[in-house]
Symmetry: C2
Subunit: 454 residues, 2 copies
């Protein structure tokens, strides 16, 4: 028979079982965090009409998108989870209750040039809260709480949610007399300050945004103001009373920072950063980025913000919202690369391997049934192999317990439980052994998927 | 602005939130069942090389597949979960430990003619056990136990797993002198007996399979033998000793039926049915179908069987396996259509809606944090609406508890818990209310997603 090489395309992630188990633990932790904050799961179609996906018509997206004809239909794969959400909300407007809080953890596709840590098929884990006509800013204030809970449930505590408010920036631009296209250009320029430094940003502001050196320096002094979040807000409040938009933004920042401690967000986990603008024109209010404290070079692992119009390409309804997105495949990749995936989590395919040593398989099956009823993930190994190979199977898969069932065990209505780490072997009843194994595994099941090095 | 109609393509399922929540409950139940039987989660790429997916080169598949070029790459979307599994196992052969037990719950795509209950983008929920060179028949014997556990965890008890063994059929054909192409034709023909009846099957066997009427009747008498599973096996054993393949198949059937009670599979949930052949040539041993007792017209909701060569198009390694597949999107659709989805499951986006009646939002945030720490899915409602509309929000979303926080509550460091079903309102501390609500919701969380009518 002529054979086809079983290759996986470049840029497509197919993990080995142990890694996949860890990815599942991450997905489950995020599902649970998002659900705790009252977000409902949503699942939009992967294939959409190309016309729908490209309604916004961005040039860069159009190049990357997987687009194809099927019969007369011009189709495409979703390239993010936001555009299909916008379509969904517009299409089901009359059937939804607002504010509509949804999460979606799903794949999206972009035919980018493949490079390390960039995938053409990748998971995103998004939440959004969509209002009908308006959306109270308390929703924005809650977003860092969701981010914080999500990362802590993954096991990460050393991270900073950096936030800012575009109303403050735009209002301040207006106060400086920078408006229209210059304001947009200035927004994109100051976003670069962390990467390129103050001096180069100054030059860009002067050359590209037509600012005088004095004006540019005033802006840079403003966004570079050093201090705690509380001190920064105090500084911001000192300039209130001139521009309404600015005042609104400052009020939102105060409202949020007042709530964060009550939401359980530790002071070390959030920081007002006036240099953050987020490139997209899309955002209009609060913006968020999340940096892993010990790995700033990775960049933001969870970003988002407030926007005014989710679905303007599909409906005349005004649907403001606030949302964030975790690039899950990329996050998994960098965690793995940095050695931060916790080896102690339970990533084996089973908790117990039952090895029958006689032909009495119903006995083994009955023991398996006891274990499964107690929530233990159980395999029975019956391949015709030598005893050593049977143990080696458990070993290779890191299955922590092997249960041996020979004639003696059957006669005494018991099992022999072998701890694969210590080698210790104990005879007990099936019921007893289920409890014994469950208790022994509890620490592993309480482990979180990220283990920080510090 | 020119707007695009926000349409969802025909044949693509995008559920409303309440339905989606129910679908998620189904997916979670299946994940848990599969995991309990020691299957590890796998996630293959949705996009594969067309050459890989079409290695087998079936004409019907080729017409349905979504295939497209991206740059120089001839790509396609997976049309099932088995072909990507075969590729994965062949590609990672050296890194996997066999038997390799994996589950995958994921989407597949087929551009079929759209019709009720048939989707172009659909979930399948598959398990497979792959051996290296050989695979003990105890694995096949465990499959009905997984099916049984899965459906019972969904809430279905009125179902029958019908099974048969192709070795018995092929062996019996040989005993009757039916071999080669005629045997294949006979296999496909007897598979139709349930649909078309004995008389028409007899005619087909005579006309299409070149059997004499006597021979055809002998075959039909054999497969139509009436009795319990035990009686059928006894009948089968009466014919042993002539054909090795037949004898093997009968031994496998006995081994399995002996184990099923120990696996907790009730006698009402399984039945040897000698008329079942499963159309595909692919299967070589045990075959399984699952029928909902009260809805036989729906056909099999979970099917599969034993095969000899998973990955023969990619590797010369012999990789026998056994697996089953649940067509999840279709199952969800028919359950919904038949009114079998349980309205009592917790499909609301939240367990509690906190409604602050003052501007003291940190207090509300702190209460939310207490609830979330106790595992209660919690929303805070702060939109500028009338009190009635706030309650109506909870009502529309079926959020079972509203927690009111006014000045009195804040003064007394407490909350007012309103049961949205009874209307009853109680003042208590936040901690107390968390326990109170959790306990009240326990029955809903113990509900299963299917509620049988009988």
């Amino acid at each position: 028979m002529e054979r086809v090489t079983p290759r996986t395309l470049s840029g497509f992630m197919e993990l080995l079982p142990e890694q996949q188990a860890k990815m599942e633990i991450m997905r489950e932790a995020l599902r649970n965090s998002y659900a705790l904050f009252g977000f409902t799961p949503l699942d939009t179609a992967a294939i959409q009409s190309a016309e729908v996906l490209l309604a916004k018509g961005s040039g860069e997206t159009e190049k990357q998108i997987y687009r194809f004809m099927k019969g007369d239909n011009d189709l495409a794969l979703r390239f993010d989870l936001t555009v299909p959400l916008a379509k969904y909300v517009a299409a089901n407007y009359g059937k939804l209750t607002f504010p509509f809080r949804r999460y979606q953890i799903g794949k999206a596709w972009r035919g980018e040039r493949a490079q390390r840590g960039r995938f053409r098929e990748f998971y995103q884990a998004d939440i959004d809260i969509i209002g009908d006509g308006s959306l109270d800013s308390m929703n924005d204030a809650e977003i860092p709480a969701v981010i914080c809970h999500s990362f802590r449930s993954l096991g990460l505590s050393r991270f900073t949610i950096r936030f800012n408010n575009r109303k403050v920036l735009n209002g301040f631009f207006a106060m400086l007399g920078i408006e229209g296209a210059s304001a947009g250009e200035a927004m994109r320029t100051i976003d670069k300050i962390e990467k390129i430094g103050r001096d180069k940003t100054l030059i860009l502001l002067i050359n590209d945004c037509n600012m005088t050196e004095t004006l540019a320096n005033e802006l840079l002094d403003f966004i570079s103001f050093e201090g705690t979040t509380a001190q920064k807000i105090e500084m911001l409040e000192g300039r209130c009373g001139v521009n309404t938009l600015y005042d609104e933004g400052v009020a939102e920042l105060r409202r949020m920072t007042e709530c964060l401690p009550s939401f359980g967000v530790e002071a070390t986990n959030f920081m007002l950063d006036l240099t953050i603008a987020r490139g997209l024109d899309y955002y209009t209010g609060m913006v968020y980025e999340t940096i892993m404290t010990d790995y700033p070079e990775i960049g933001s692992v969870c970003s988002g913000g407030r926007y005014d119009n989710l679905a303007e390409y599909y409906t005349d309804k005004k649907l403001p919202g606030v949302g964030i997105s975790i690039g899950l495949s990329r996050l998994f990749y960098v965690l793995d690369e940095q050695g931060l995936l916790n080896e102690a989590v339970q990533s084996a395919p089973a908790d117990v391997l039952i090895v029958p040593m006689t032909e009495d398989l119903p006995y083994a099956a009955a023991v398996a049934t006891v274990y499964r009823a107690k929530g233990l993930r159980t395999q029975i190994y019956t391949e015709q192999k030598k005893f050593k190979q049977k143990l080696s199977y458990a070993d290779k898969l890191s299955i922590p317990f092997v249960v041996l069932i020979g004639e003696d065990e059957i006669k005494s209505d018991s099992v022999s439980v072998k701890n694969m780490v210590t080698g210790e072997q104990t005879l007990m009843s099936a019921e007893q052994s289920a409890t014994f194994i469950s208790e022994a595994l509890e620490p592993a099941y309480n482990e979180k998927i990220i283990r920080e090095k510090i």
